[in-house]
Every structure is written in C-alpha cells, then in structure tokens.
C-alpha cells in the first residue's frame, strides 16, 4: 500500500503504452523545435518563432486525456500544444517552410499553426486572443449536448489582458466545459509575472470567477496530468470551468530576436537542470514502464519522425503567387 502511494498519479492512471507515447511526444516536441531552430538559422524559415523547449511536460500532460473531439486553443508558443494534440510534424515543418502542404497552406507559419482535425483551433499571434474563443468552443459543446471539453492554453502575460477576465467570467456564469491552462514561465516576453501581475499566483485569480484554481509544478508530468484529470472530469460533469497554472520555464529567448537582457544565466541553468523530459523519462524507467533501451528507442523514433518531416517539408511545393487571396472567403462552389 505504501508503495502504491508513492507511485505518481500518471503511472497509476495511464497504461504503459500511453506513457510511452507521452514520452515520445515530449521528445518529438523537443526535437521538432531544435530542428525548426536549426532550419531557421539556415534561413529556411521566414519570420520568427517562439520555442517552448523546457515546457514539454505542460503541453503533453495537459493533453493526455483529450480526444480529437476535445478542443484546444493555443498561443504564439504553440508547437508543443500542436504536437501534444496529435499533429504530424511533417505538415508542421511544411507550414514553417511556407509550403502548400503545411497545416495552413503556407499562409500562417509558426505563429498560426493549427490542426483543426485533431481539435487544435490554432496558435495565436494575439496574446490572449484564444481565451474568449475557447469559451465559445465550450459553449458550442454545451449547447449541442456534446461532452467534449476545451482546453485553453495561455501565458502568464496573457492573464493581464482584458480578454482573460471577460472570458473567465463568462465561462463561470454559464458553467462551460473549459479548462484554462496557464503556462506560467515567469515572463511575458521580458516582463516578470511578479512585476506585471498583482497576485502571486495566476491561479489566485480563479477565486474572482468562482472557479477552482490550482498551481502545479509544470515540469512534473504527473502533477499536470493529475490537475487536468480533475478539471476535465469537472468540466465533463457539467460543473464548469477550472484554472490550472503550470509553473514552468522556457529555456530559449522569447523569440528569435531576444537578447536575453532580463534573465540571468544562473536562472536559466537552474531551470535547465529541471528538464521535464529527463525527469519523466527517469520516472518511467524507475517505475518499470520502460527500460533505458526502450527509452532510447522512443527517442530514436521521434528523431526519425523529425528527419522524415523535414524531408517531406523540403520536397513539398510552395503555394502559387496567384493564390494570394485564396482562403480569404469561402471558396465559390465549383
């Protein structure tokens, strides 16, 4: 019994295959972003991108219990959410390379990555842009009598947008099946959450909207999964929204143009020593879900997927210039 109690929630709750898949996705996110970063530096990718390296547990654990019918709204830092929700990295790379085979047919790029078929309603260039949209998606589920839920990812910076407050209030008064997941990585761009936000924890704000709010270690896969398990159950039971705050950290700069003048090297290194992937992997090995060789194989699989994805993207065609106004409106019936 004592042993049982020491086993983390995730190990108890999910089948080994699910856990293995979770580890694969976390590796996939890391490798995908490293690959994207490299391609960016080689000039293959246009614009900018926001990497979530260091935040993989938050993305994957949050999406653990979601099906394709469940929705997420994502953020500018959304690659992890997209992969966690089941997207194909080949089509993601293709999007980054501006190709017609990309998820947005080359129109959106990194900041608008989406996969509507797996329930990802899209990353967002507007901080806080997804918050009310998630509430709308939850309203649909409730009105149409479906039991799917919506997870709304947002950052610590976004919780100071008016949209955050308006959205949480409506979700609460209408008891909508939505879970607000704040990925508190301590900074909104360069601005510390401690400076920009009047309360110590974002989750404290839940009280203002009469919903449960919890703060968890966002680099602890199991802790996140457990918090979401409770919130999702509550949402599916028709009891309304919850706010979950995942404390985490982005290893890289805010975007590709960050000069890192607001964080210390020590702070970054400290957080790098709390790598969520290494931690989860060690946990799986410790609890016998995988052995070291098995974990290596999982990582190798992810590596292969990334390599294949880049090849697919490179070989894909670019959209035609004449189609610059395509997708502005519904296409005329042929």
């Amino acid at each position: 019994m004592i042993v049982q109690d020491n086993i983390p929630f995730a190990i108890r709750h999910f089948a080994p295959a699910q856990l293995r898949e979770a580890l694969r996705k976390m590796h996939l996110i890391r490798l995908f972003e490293e690959g994207a970063e490299e391609s960016y530096m080689r000039g293959l990718i246009h614009g900018t991108m926001h990497l979530s390296i260091g935040q993989e547990a938050s993305a994957v654990a949050t999406c653990m219990e979601l099906t394709d019918a469940d929705k997420i709204t994502s953020t500018h830092r959304g690659h992890g959410h997209c992969i966690a929700k089941g997207a194909d990295v080949g089509r993601m790379f293709a999007e980054f390379f501006g190709k017609e085979t990309g998820y947005c047919h080359g129109r959106g790029g990194s900041m608008h990555i989406a996969d509507v078929k797996t329930g990802n309603l899209g990353a967002n260039g507007i901080v806080g842009g997804g918050l009310p949209i998630a509430v709308g998606a939850a309203l649909t589920a409730k009105r149409l009598g479906r039991d799917d839920v919506t997870v709304c990812f947002f950052g610590d910076g976004a919780n100071n947008e008016g949209a955050f407050h308006e959205a949480l209030n409506m979700a609460a008064i209408w008891k909508l099946p939505v879970i607000f997941v704040c990925e508190n990585n301590k900074y909104g761009m360069s601005t510390p959450a401690t400076y920009a936000t009047a309360v110590p924890n974002i989750a404290d704000r839940a009280a203002a909207y009469s919903m449960p709010g919890v703060t968890v270690d966002g680099n602890d896969f199991s802790a996140v999964a457990e918090a979401l398990h409770i919130a999702i159950a509550r949402a599916r039971a028709g009891e309304g929204p919850s706010l979950v705050e995942n404390l985490t950290y982005r290893w890289r700069g805010h975007s590709k143009s960050d000069r890192n003048r607001y964080r210390t090297k020590d702070e970054i290194e400290d957080w790098m020593s709390r790598d969520p992937i290494a931690r989860f992997r060690a946990e799986l090995i410790a609890h016998g879900v995988l052995d070291a060789a098995g974990a290596e194989a999982v990582e190798a699989e992810a590596k292969q997927a990334v390599a294949d994805g880049v090849e697919f993207a490179k070989a894909s065609p670019a959209p035609g210039i004449a189609d610059v106004t395509k997708f502005v409106h519904a296409e005329e019936a042929a």
């Binding site: 246009h46 614009g47 900018t48 999007e95 501006g98 190709k99 947005c104 080359g106 129109r107 959106g108 790029g109 900041m111 608008h112 967002n124 260039g125 507007i126 901080v127 806080g128 842009g129 910076g157 976004a158 100071n160 947008e161 008016g162 949209a163 909104g188 761009m189 360069s190 601005t191 400076y195 920009a196 936000t197 143009s257 960050d258 000069r259 003048r261 607001y262 670019a318 959209p319 210039i321 189609d323 610059v324 106004t325 502005v328």
Partner: protein
C-alpha cells in the same frame, strides 16, 4: 513655479548626425524626456528589453522606470491609462509593440482619445502620442504585419503620420508630442535600420505637410512610408528611360496635404497612389477622390491608378508576402504605362 510643467529648451544645434530611423525616434524621445518633465513613455517591454524593435533601448537606464514604464500586456488598459494621464497633465508616448495590437485598444483611441475634446466642448485635451510599428516584410504573418493608417485616418479627432526617413521620424514624433491632440505615429518596421542624416537637438516636422522627394513632370506618385523608397527606386529606373516621375511622400494621412498633391497632379496630369494598406477603401482611395473632386480633375490625362495591398491578410510564405504588397517592379510598370499613355 511647478517644476513638473517646466519645459527646458533643447535648441537645435544646426548640425546633423547619421542615425538610423530607430535611433532618430529614440533621440526624439530622449529630447522629449529631457525638456519636458511631464513626458512619460509607456509600453510593453520598452524597459530593459528596449522594445520589440529596440527603439527604446537603454532609455530606462537613463530615465528610470518611473518615466519609462513597462506595462503589463494590457493594450486596452494601457492605452486608456495613457489617455487619462494625457487628459490630466502628463504627455504619454504609448508604444504598441505592433500596430496590430492597437485593435485591442480601439475603444480608448477611437471612442475616448479622439473624441474627448469635442464631446467636452473644447474643455479638455488629450495630448497623447501612440507609436505603432507597422507594415509587412518580416514574415510575421497576418496578425503582426498590418497597415492600419486608413483605419485611424477615418477618425476625426486623430492625427495620423507616417514618417519615411530618420529625419522625419524624429521631427514628426516631436511634432506629435507638441500637438495638443492625439497623434498616431506609424513607424514602418522595415525602416528602423535605415540610416540618414538627422538634425541634432529639438525640431519639429510639420504635421499635415507632404514632402516632394523627387520632382518630375510626367507622372505623380503619392506614396507613404516604405513605399516612398520603392517609388524613388522605380523613379530612378524610369528616369533612365526618359520618364520623369514626381514622388510625393505623403507623411501625414490625416490631415492630408491636398495642396501639394493637387499642384503636382495639375503639373503631370497622371497620378499613381502607392500604399501598403489594403487597396480597397485605403489611403489611395482618399487621394484619388480628392483629386477627382478638385480643380486638378481637369488636368488628368489618364485614369488615376492605385497600387495597394492585396485584398487578403498578409500571408506567411515570403513569396506570397511580397506579392501581397506593392513592390518596386509593380510601381515601375504602372508608372511607365501611365507615362506612355497606355493606361
């Protein structure tokens, strides 16, 4: 004597110095902070980070966090705080990280800042400046690349300027700050690195006055922001073919310099408007209409032409992105056809 409202003169030295467009804006803000204690800078990440485009770099070190204020990511609230502060005696320069995010603050800009003086029968003033990095060309896609000048140009009570050179970037910003009413300054992201000679010290560039950047007798191009440079390149190319293009830098969308445009069109009889905002209902529509309504109409020798942004959001793919806004080659082609009477 209230020290808070005392203006310290920073006289122009008569000298110029090479500066980038971003440096010129920073210089203007530093001068403003030096000469007027009521000036405050507000915006997201304008402190230590130096702003998304590094325009406010180091200002926090020189003036401290009370005058260079990082705001939370709260555009509506932040802009509104700036409006309220301006209404009561401060002179805020509020930076939107990207002009696109002004959409979140539309309420405070359009319903409040623009109208307060009027609604209160002239009893109140809102001398606020909103700085807005705008335009495409950086691969930032649909929500970070827009050109909203026509949106704000549509609102009585606002003034809207679009500097195209480092000198004007500084002079127009200082003019905006000296103006008793709200002024929106659109800064083109692709111009931040552009260098030019900039007068040192304090000076203002008049709002509402266009600049003739090149004289010519065959075709008038009225362009704004980055398009001025594309038009000038096209004009240089056309000059080799014997086509003399007059390039007018609009500089101010509201108020618009009717006289300069009308005089030029009366001279050339041909007008091409080049602007980055979406072509339909854009700045070029206003310029075309003012010519059609003016005495210059009787001097037109060809249909007025507009080159503007595509009827689409700015796409991510770089080739599509280029195709979505006028490029030098487009300007050259249309101006040539106009000059040759082929339009």
């Amino acid at each position: 004597m209230n020290a808070q409202t005392q203006i310290t003169e920073v006289t122009p030295s008569g000298e110029t110095r090479e500066m980038s467009y971003a440096e010129a804006i920073r210089d203007a803000m530093a001068i403003a902070l030096d000469r007027d204690p009521t000036v405050v800078l507000m915006g997201e990440d304008i402190g230590t980070y130096g702003g998304a485009f590094q325009v406010t770099l180091d200002l926090i070190d020189r003036y401290g966090p009370d005058r260079v204020m990082d705001t939370p990511i709260s555009e509506l609230g932040g802009a509104g705080v700036a409006v309220g502060a301006a209404l009561t005696g401060l002179k805020p320069i509020f930076e939107f990280q990207f002009s696109d995010f002004a959409a979140l603050a539309m309420e405070q800009i359009v319903n409040q800042a623009a109208k307060l003086r009027y609604m209160l029968g002239g009893e109140a003033a809102v001398p606020v400046v909103f700085r807005m990095p705008a335009g495409s060309g950086t691969g930032a896609a649909a929500q970070h690349s827009q050109s909203f000048e026509a949106w704000f140009g549509h609102v009585p009570g606002l003034k809207v300027v679009q500097p195209s050179t480092p000198e004007d970037a500084k002079g127009l910003l200082l003019a905006a700050l000296a103006d008793p009413d709200p002024v929106i300054v659109f800064e083109h992201k692709l111009l931040y690195k552009m260098k030019g000679q900039v007068p040192t010290g304090y000076y203002t560039t008049p709002i509402g006055k266009a600049a003739i950047r090149r004289t010519g007798s065959d075709v008038t191009i009225v362009a704004s922001a980055i398009m001025v440079h594309r038009a000038l390149e096209a004009a240089a190319k056309l000059a080799e073919e014997g086509i003399e293009v007059e390039v007018i830098d609009l500089r101010s969308v509201r108020p618009i310099d009717r006289d300069t445009i009308i005089a030029s069109v009366k001279k050339t009889g041909k007008l091409l408007c080049v602007y980055e905002g979406v072509r339909t209902l854009g700045v070029g529509a206003e310029i075309s209409a003012l010519i059609a309504e003016s005495e210059a109409f009787d001097y037109l020798d060809a249909p007025i032409q507009r080159l503007g942004g595509a009827e689409a959001p700015i796409p991510y793919n770089p080739d599509l992105e280029r195709a979505a806004v006028p490029q030098k080659a487009d300007i050259e082609t249309v101006a040539r056809r106009l000059a040759k009477g082929e339009v």
